[in-house]
């Protein structure tokens, strides 16, 4: 355990770097990981090909079909404005996936960089950077995201940045711990003896060693990012109407849950599916990188 903050319910799951070399990495992925990957792939394809797959324009209102129940005309029903729920779900996948993946990639790059620099340089740089991360870490991710979006405005870029910001310290701390574990290893000392520059040692030699750990972290945090985005949209801080976001659809559906429960159920299931898929991938990657953790658990 490195003391790295994982998403709320995923503490104590950061793997050590694997020593297992006997099988290829892909062969070590278990079935649930493949299921997770397949689900994410399907959702990505659904999002990319939404214009071809969606039977209707997701923002087109048709008051005459207000709150139509699921059936032949509208497979998953229509909302209070007569908009097709299936089409909105397909287009909504674009926002959830984009925000879920890009925000964490952003956090991964920026956080890991900060953590690597802190771990490698040590001293005051380390103290300043990590204390800043500790301050950010003190806020629950949803509350921090909420504050940032409320301040900056609910645009796609701002939501993405806000969620990335909440995940930043996690990556910084993982990267810092991993760099500190590596920096006195023989190969790093050898690099120093050969006169390699600090950045070269850091990015060409240490980075590949800590990358698996960071990637596992990223996959687990993507689930959190999707949840945070949906939560923000649910409380009214998501993308402005008429953009179809899953959290926003749950919010709007909730107003009619007593007579048209499908409006809230279908987007909720979509969120559940994507979060589950990211978690399966994260768990699988962790197990593949360090099988000892799996047997231990």
């Amino acid at each position: 355990m490195t003391g790295v903050p994982l998403p709320e319910d995923r503490q104590a799951e950061v793997p050590a770097i694997s020593a297992g070399k006997s099988r290829t990495f892909l062969a070590r992925l278990n079935l649930s990981t493949w299921i997770g990957l397949a689900v994410v792939l399907l959702l990505v394809l659904a999002a990319v090909f939404a214009p071809l797959l969606a039977p209707y324009d997701p923002t087109r209102q048709n008051i005459l079909n207000q709150l139509a129940q699921p059936g032949a005309e509208y497979l998953l029903g229509a909302d209070q404005f007569g908009r097709d729920v299936l089409s909105r779900l397909l287009y909504g996948a674009r926002y959830s996936l984009t925000i879920g993946i890009l925000s964490i990639l952003l956090a991964m790059v920026a956080g890991s960089l900060a953590g690597m620099v802190a771990g490698h340089l040590g001293g005051k740089t380390d103290i300043v950077l990590m204390q800043f991360m500790d301050v950010v870490l003190a806020f629950p991710s949803l509350i921090l995201g909420l504050a940032l979006v409320a301040m900056m405005g609910a645009t796609m870029t701002n939501i993405l940045i806000a969620i990335a910001f909440t995940a930043l310290p996690a990556f910084a701390r993982v990267a810092r711990a991993a760099v500190m574990a590596q920096r006195d290893r023989e190969y790093v000392q050898a690099c120093r003896a050969m006169g390699f520059s600090g950045p070269r040692i850091l990015f060409r030699h240490i980075l590949p060693a800590i990358l698996p750990e960071v990637l596992v972290m990223a996959s687990l945090w993507m689930a959190t990012a999707v949840r945070t985005e949906a939560s923000l949209a649910f409380i009214g801080l998501g993308l402005a109407p008429p953009n179809p976001t899953w959290g926003g659809m749950v919010r709007e559906g909730f107003d009619n849950i007593l007579n048209s429960f499908h409006l809230a159920i279908f987007p909720s299931l979509a969120i559940l599916l994507l979060v589950l898929a990211f978690n399966l991938i994260g768990d699988g990657l962790r197990d593949a990188i360090d099988p000892r953790l799996k047997t231990a658990s």
């Binding site: 923002t59 087109r60 209102q61 008051i63 207000q66 709150l67 209070q80 404005f81 405005g153 609910a154 009214g236 402005a240 109407p241 008429p242 909730f254 107003d255 009619n256 849950i257 007593l258 007579n259």
Partner: protein, 522 residues
């Protein structure tokens, strides 16, 4: 009579008799705690002269009294009755009015008795733009004097359509205690003291406002002793709370699905009442691109008010016919409104230099009725190439932001005292424009009908007065200061056992008025 002989048998019989004797007492124990569910997120301002949101208006009407009031359950100006004033008389020229106050009316929370000084202070405050949001309505008052502790004289600069109208239990007409307001300053808004039937006891932010009966209320101690006004802004949460018996009455939803569902609920009574709120889309001609009338006309042609009315359901909503509510004295139906014509709208945009359409940002309220209205407008405007970028914010924040002149287009629903002068003055007179010292709700910065509005205010010939008001409406519509959308009645649901104490057919406070007679039936 059979008496059991064993001790156990006697004990059982005694218990049975005791139980039988207590049962009627329990069954008839009067319920005195009322719980209401409101479509609001929190308390805004409970200083009645700043209470502009629907929810705040509802609450201040329970806390405060006024010189005169609408008979409970009506919005009929012909049924104005005495409240704090027991009688009044006017000079022959209707410029000097003398009011005699009821003696011994007590302020809540031990703040003494209502005196003429309090009335003078209140009406002066109502007329002061720095201390009231309704100052424009009181501009005709020259002076208010206390002749003695129970006599007040109001002198007008000129005749106005209805002095009694602006002295009712509505907007600036509420009387506040001078000493408490001066002592509390800005805190008065969260710690109001009135002379009405219910006193605010505490506020749980975002949860509820709690009230207790004002036992010294001059019409008698209220039958209801405690009121919990719960903030249940989510429609479903409110419906569920009502269905589960957590609240005795709740704000309804002016939508047909809601009505069908609620009417099917056993023991639920739906109250649909006046005033119908007129919703207008105000367009600020001082901001680009709306400085070009063709763009404003394009917006007007893009709006399909019948479709919006159909969306809401005809039990509550009808398409608006002018820029003032249809129940107003002076209303003119069909005053030259532009019809729904998307092709004409596109042509006008092209003429104005926007052949490919344009983008407009609009801050909107997250209150469900506003949120749905905004999305309906968004879709209709999109059809003619106008992309409406919505920026939804919490309702109280929205009220603040639109008063900082941040919107070029503002959708606003309101009901006012049913005389054309009030609505026209507050929404279309230049002195009410946002940014002016006496700013109220002229979001469009409209100035075209100032002359008619002012002339009608002092016109003594009622036929001429009506004509001035009608001409004002024609001009406002011709200049597209606002696009009329819908008129929607107020709606609440209550348990059949809850009796408001009157028949609820109208309420200027936009929610049920709680009186000393409000109670639960057996």
């Amino acid at each position: 009579m059979f008496i059991p002989k064993s001790i156990g048998g006697r004990a059982l019989a005694a218990a049975f008799l005791l139980g039988t004797a207590l049962t009627p007492l329990q069954a008839h124990a009067e319920k005195t705690k009322l719980s209401l569910g409101a479509a609001s997120a929190d308390v805004g301002k409970l200083d009645p002269h700043f209470a502009t949101s629907t929810s705040d208006r509802t609450l201040v009407a329970w806390i405060f009294s006024s010189l005169v009031r609408f008979a409970p359950g009506t919005t009929d100006p012909s049924k104005i009755e005495p409240d704090l004033a027991k009688s009044w008389e006017a000079s022959a020229d209707k410029l000097v009015w003398t009011f005699k106050l009821r003696p011994g009316v007590k302020w809540q929370k031990g703040n003494g008795e209502v005196t003429a000084d309090d009335v003078v202070y209140s009406l002066t405050k109502s007329a002061d733009p720095k201390r009231s949001a309704f100052a424009g309505d009181y501009a005709a008052i020259e002076k208010v004097e206390a002749l003695d502790p129970l006599t007040v004289r109001i002198t007008l600069k000129q005749q106005i359509p209805s002095l009694l109208g602006i002295l009712t239990n509505y907007s600036g007409g509420f009387i506040v205690p001078k000493a408490a307001v001066e002592k509390l300053g800005a805190d008065f808004s969260r710690n109001p003291v009135g002379s009405g039937p219910f006193a605010l006891s505490r506020i749980e932010p975002g949860q509820a406002a709690h009230f207790v009966a004002h036992e010294d209320y001059f019409r008698g101690a209220p039958k209801i002793k405690e009121v919990a006004y719960r903030f249940l802004n989510s429609n479903s949460a409110r419906d569920l709370a009502f269905a589960a018996g957590e609240v005795d009455a709740a704000t309804g939803l002016a939508e047909r699905q809601w009505l069908a569902r609620t009417q099917a609920t056993k023991g639920a009574v739906v109250d649909i009442f006046d005033p119908a709120e007129l919703t207008l889309l105000h367009i600020d001609a001082s901001k680009k691109p709306f400085d070009d009338i063709r763009v404003r006309q394009a917006v007007a042609h893009a709006i399909n008010r019948n479709q919006i009315s159909q969306f809401r359901g005809d039990a509550f909503t009808r398409a608006a016919g002018s820029v003032i509510p249809s129940n107003n004295l002076g209303y003119l139906a069909g005053s030259g409104m532009l019809p729904h014509d998307p092709q004409r709208a596109k042509a006008l945009l092209a003429e104005a230099g926007y052949p490919n359409g344009l983008k407009i940002k609009m801050i909107t309220s997250q209150m469900p009725s506003y949120e749905t209205m905004a999305q309906l407008q968004q879709a209709q405007l999109q059809d003619v190439g106008i992309t409406l970028e919505l920026q939804p914010v919490e309702h109280a924040t929205w009220h603040q932001m639109i008063r900082k002149d941040l919107n070029a287009m503002t959708t606003y629903g309101a009901a006012r005292f049913p005389v054309a002068d009030i609505y026209l003055t507050q929404f279309f007179h230049s002195k009410s424009a946002i940014g002016q010292p006496s700013a109220v709700t002229n979001f469009s910065h409209c100035t075209v009908a100032d002359k008619e509005i002012e002339a009608a205010r002092t016109e003594t010939d009622s036929a001429k007065q009506l004509e001035f008001w009608k001409e004002a409406q024609r001009k406002i519509i011709a200049q597209v200061c606002a696009v009329p959308l819908t008129e929607t009645a107020q709606v609440w649901v209550r348990r059949a056992g809850l009796d408001w104490g009157y028949e609820l057919k109208g309420s200027m406070s936009l929610g049920p008025l709680l009186t000393e007679l409000t109670h639960f039936k057996d």
